[in-house]
Amino acid sequence: MSDFQRQHPVAAISRALGLIRGNFITILVFLFVGARSENFPFLWWIGGGAGFLLIAGFANWWRFLYKVEDDTLHIKSGIFVRKDIYLTKDRIQVIDVTSGVLQRLFGLVRLDIQTAGSSSRQAAIDAITIEDARDISYLLRPDKNGSSAEGDLKDSAESDSEEESIKSIKLPLKELLIAASTSGSFGIALSLIATVFSQVEPLIGQSEMYEYLIGLIPSDADFILILAMIGAFVLFAWLISFFSTLFKYGNFQLEVKEDEIVVSRGIFEKKRITIPYNRIQAIHVAEGMIRQPLGYASLHLESAGYGDEKGSGSFVLFPLIGKGNIQSLLQEILPDYNRGVEGITPPVRSLRRYIFRSSVLVTLITGILFWVLSLNVWIWLLPLVSVFWGWIRFKDAAAGWDGDLFVIRSRFLSKSTAYIKKKRIQDFSLHQSFFQRYRGLCSIKMYVASGDQGKSFGVSDLELDDGYRALDEARKETAVKISDMDKSEIELKNRLIHLPGWV
């Protein structure tokens, strides 16, 4: 491992495929433009493009070298601009092993070594054998408690028991199916279809096929046609989200090891994420709009690695779990976080602000549309729904703390309950807008490291005193329970609740 090595040559192909995936829309447009141009044969376009990609992929593969030396992963890469990346063992946040369909054909994996921040994004090794990946991740494993003398002794024993996990939890099929059918990526799929459609539509629009199809439709069926179109779109989006979730979280398994958690999932593209306990930034439980009434939630984890392409460091720790089982699951995997704390809710007078905030825009837009387009009266249901939305957002907002743990519960669309260790809070701020000052309210917000930007958790419109209480507790080493603080205010008592509030 101390000499520079090349990846498996398959990396060249997977790199080329990566380029295609990254510029998919551009390529699509190029292909359509190319297909129309008369004096430049279509096959030339495709052939030339594929050749170019292969050469680029091959050059990338040739110029990519890596080695592990002195607890450091050293990567040289770049075709023209040479880049030397050094990743030290102490700084590694997450180790992520993926094997796509292509890689699996050759028994290879992709290894992502993530450090905090985005600079390690280029440090992924696209294609190496499973054994090599295991070796590297073993060499780069963080020290156990940093003790070297003891570590040496343990090392020999550890190498045998390395693969042994204390517990392993699987996702039952029934729950996988529920997770897939209620997945929130539904909206994303819908917007994806809309994007593709808007790109392709002008091209189809001019074809004879389209004209023919339009000719088939009776002209008086406009309204029903639109409804059917919408229905078909929604169904299609739902199917996409159903299967993508199914493939993503199939074979889900959570392994609890002595000092790390290993999540493996995926049917076609297998992914295996290793995160040491001391790299966990925060965890949060999300109860989606559809899942909450069914009594289900999902469990997420924030890490300082870069996570996915979007750069958020959060990943799914458990895709679907009954509300009643969350506590026992937490007890098994992260007992530190399984704690009920006392929380405070915003005072009743901030309900008005919650409702105003969530409904003002919707009402305004509905009003304008109603007058301008003279729509059906039923459209006014939308503002009513938004008032309800404001009310549940108010109902779910709460902040609590105890000892070294902060719990923040809030809702945008799904209800999220975040558990944040105090020493993981990057900054804590208290905001007061002009109107909040007038009403004696404030909002609190805390950031934890997560991916490139970090992730914030906060509660709006708390009583100003409560905000300052939280700020002061964040300052201390260990926070004092709310009920142990001064209870002189009778009003406070009414707003005390127990978090997280699951039975």
Binding site: D90, Q93, A116, G117, N278, R279, Q281, A304, K423, I425, Q426, D427, F428, S429, L430, H431, Q432, S433, F434, R437, Y447, V448, A449, S450, Q453, G454, K455, S456, Y468, L471, D472, A474, R475
Partner: protein, 159 residues
């Protein structure tokens, strides 16, 4: 809670803000100009354009004679061996607490305007967010930067 000793930022920064606002707010005069370009200057539209101009003008004047003073007045920072605390905001007041053990790095930066007034801004980055103290005298800025990095080193911890 109140043992913190808060400092104000250097008053010369007001001048910097006045200059930069007076230039950058000129952009908003594009709104009435654009309006006039689209709708012309007929009887009705001339009044709209004039009132828009007036509004932008008032905003422009305020951004020079009033806003910088208010912003300066509301800016406070405090640094001790455990945390950095920043308070600022005119309409939206914000108070931020940054534990020193979470500070990743501290920079001082200077644009041409700041350099002209021998000021410098201090940027404090954590693993998640970036905060800045907008205008400090160069000497003070360097002292603050050194102070933070010394304290931060003492409180060494992983992300």
């Amino acid at each position: 809670m109140e043992q913190q000793s808060f400092h104000k930022i250097t008053p010369r920064v007001i001048k910097v803000w006045q200059w930069s606002n007076s230039i950058s707010y000129l952009f908003y005069f594009g709104i009435p100009i654009g309006y006039a370009a689209i709708f012309g200057l007929d009887q009705f539209h001339i009044w709209v354009a004039l009132s828009l101009t007036l509004l932008v003008l008032i905003g422009w004047v305020l951004s020079i004679v009033w806003l910088p003073y208010k912003i300066w007045e509301n800016w406070r920072y405090a640094i001790n061996d455990k945390e950095i605390e920043l308070k600022h905001g005119v309409f939206f007041k914000t108070q931020t607490l940054i534990p020193l053990s979470r500070v990743q790095h501290v920079d001082t930066r200077q644009g041409p305007l700041l350099r002209w007034y021998s000021l410098s801004q201090v940027t404090i980055s954590t693993a998640a967010t970036t905060h800045e103290i907008p205008g400090l005298d160069i000497v003070i800025a360097n002292r603050v930067r050194r102070q933070i990095s010394t304290y931060a080193r003492l409180a060494e911890d992983d992300v």
